[in-house]
């Protein structure tokens, strides 16, 4: 187990290194620099600035320095666009917001999805089953950027129940629509996966044995069937997490929640490279860490797995 963990980390580190190097090279290749203004600076001033910030050195040296700053001081440099802020400050500003509705969305997607899937499998071919299948098929074609306008149209413009955007420190009316918009398609996928794997497990021999012993249905489902049936769901959690992090960009932009995504898109539109890179690298690190966690969870639930 420890050896497996170490091996996984051994893959994760190069992944992040590649991500950092590639994004730095891309940025280096891009036109425009941090000191470009409407009126061009005198070349001497420019050269001085470049020297001061080490931008005149060879690419490899710059990358090395960027890397060292990240690893030793967790420093992603200053933002080009928000002149008085560093990337860290911007991320620190947006991250709590994204984390709040992101965690809610993840919880909703997993809890509702799994319950729906299990209920559908246990009551196979019932009305509930058809409802669950219908919902999960329908929600496949409703990614966050489709859900968000539809929700706003219905709940803000027509019914007037919920505010169409903003955050207000995370009061619940402002959280509801972001969470629903972000979680729906993942909830549907989780429900579909949970249903089909639960159906498979419920037809397995050991479940028939449990029934033959006369165990009550509830106990069979929760004590015997749940664990093996959750394995495919757990392996989907990694991709779902990635999808939600990505989706949060749309949520932030559409609902103006002030999360990281809003800064990211602003930076992308304004070519604020340090922020784009910082967010990309942090997201990459988050994804790698989460995938590791999901794998460990998988190994813990299924002791048959040997690495």
């Amino acid at each position: 187990m420890i050896a497996y963990l170490l091996r996984r980390i051994a893959v994760a580190v190069p992944t992040l290194l590649i991500l950092i190097v590639v994004s730095y090279v891309l940025m280096y290749a891009a036109p425009g620099g941090p000191f470009d203004t409407e009126r061009a600076l005198p070349p001497e001033v420019m050269a001085n600035l470049q020297r001061k910030y080490g931008l005149d050195e060879p690419l490899a040296v710059q990358i090395w320095r960027y890397l060292v700053a990240i690893v030793t001081e967790f420093d992603f440099g200053p933002s080009f666009q928000y002149k008085d802020q560093t990337v860290n400050e911007i991320v620190a500003q947006g991250f709590p917001v994204t984390l709040t509705y992101g965690a809610w969305s993840f919880a909703v997607a997993v809890l509702v999805g799994v319950s729906l899937g299990i209920a559908a499998a246990v009551r196979h071919n019932s009305f509930l089953d058809y409802l669950a299948v219908g919902v999960s098929v329908g929600a496949q074609v409703l990614p966050n950027f489709v859900m968000a306008p539809i929700l706003t149209l219905v709940f803000t413009l027509w019914l007037g129940w919920l505010p169409g955007g903003g955050w207000q420190g995370g009061q619940w009316p402002y959280v509801v629509m972001p969470v629903i918009a972000l979680s729906t398609s993942f909830m549907a996928s989780i429900a579909r996966i949970a249903r089909s794997s639960m159906l498979e497990v419920l037809n397995a021999n050991f479940i028939r044995t449990a029934r033959a012993k006369g165990l009550p249905g509830r106990r069979i489902v929760f004590r015997h069937a749940l664990k093996p049936a959750m394995l495919p769901v757990i392996s989907y959690l990694g991709p779902a997490f990635v999808g939600m992090i990505t989706g949060s960009v749309v949520i932030d932009v559409f609902f103006a929640t002030g999360g990281i995504g809003q800064f990211f898109v602003n930076s992308a539109l304004n070519r604020d490279y340090p922020v784009i890179m910082g967010v990309t690298i942090l997201t990459g690190a988050l994804i790698v860490a989460f995938n590791l966690l999901a794998d460990l969870l998988y190994a813990w639930i299924d002791p048959r797995i040997r690495y």
């Binding site: 992944t15 891309l26 074609v141 489709v146 992090i245 992308a268 784009i276 990459g284």
Partner: protein
Amino acid sequence: MNPLFGRRALRTLSDPAPGGRSLWQDARARFFRNRAAVASLAVLGSVAVFAVFGGLVTPWNNEQIDWSMLGSVAEEGAPSFANGHYFGVDEVGRDLFARTVQGTRISLAVGIVGALISVAVGTLYGATAGYFGGRVDGAMMRVVDVLMAIPYMFVLILLMVVFSRSILMLFVGIGLISWLDMARIARGQTLSLKNREFVEAAVAIGVRPRRIVLRHIVPNLLGVVIVYATLLVPSMIIYESFISFLGLGVQEPATSWGALIASGAGQMQYGTLWQLLFPLFFFVVTLFSFFFLGDGLRDALDPKDR
């Protein structure tokens, strides 16, 4: 001897063998029995016709502004046959029908290009890794692992920012990520194929590895590959629409479903709902059809799932 029996026996013997049905014929029969899949195929066909020939129906194109609509889009811009704007106009007075036609073209093109790249690159890559196994396999799949752990959407946006937002760049970016899943699937299938007798026979008569992969492994992967390629098209369309929704994808005056949905959504408080609903309808209907088509193809081609 009963003459009837004799004659019948004779005929059975003299008739040519009742030609065996090939795997593909079987698959086709199974596919056409699936009504949802056939209906989806028809819907996709009409969307494709709309994308290709839609421009011939309207005198407008995606960048022309109908100046008579300026300032009165909400009152007069609604869909109507009388003024020639079948889907109405957008917020600056451009014909939404023409823009939807053009957006559909881009969205479909992105989906199809992504699927083609994944089929070409992913299949070969996965088949090669799976066939050679061992260290080659380990190294090749490690590369896929590393690429998969990268937050592709962010990198794609970074690419779009750095190399100016062109459609070509969009295709390159989509192509870069689309083949990863396919490589894994192809590798998995190859692992189960490579120990079969026909591969062994090919090895025994001295066929080169390259030829074995191309002529013996890849054709046997096709069924699975087609199914996943079909399911990949909608996710490529979703990627592209996602980026365009954020305003980081296609550039004005060109458009795509994502960009149209975004601008429609931005206008909905003014009551010009058609600007949101027409693109949304095309998006949802097409994605639905691709999913059902993929399901139908899986039932038809992938015998494992039955």
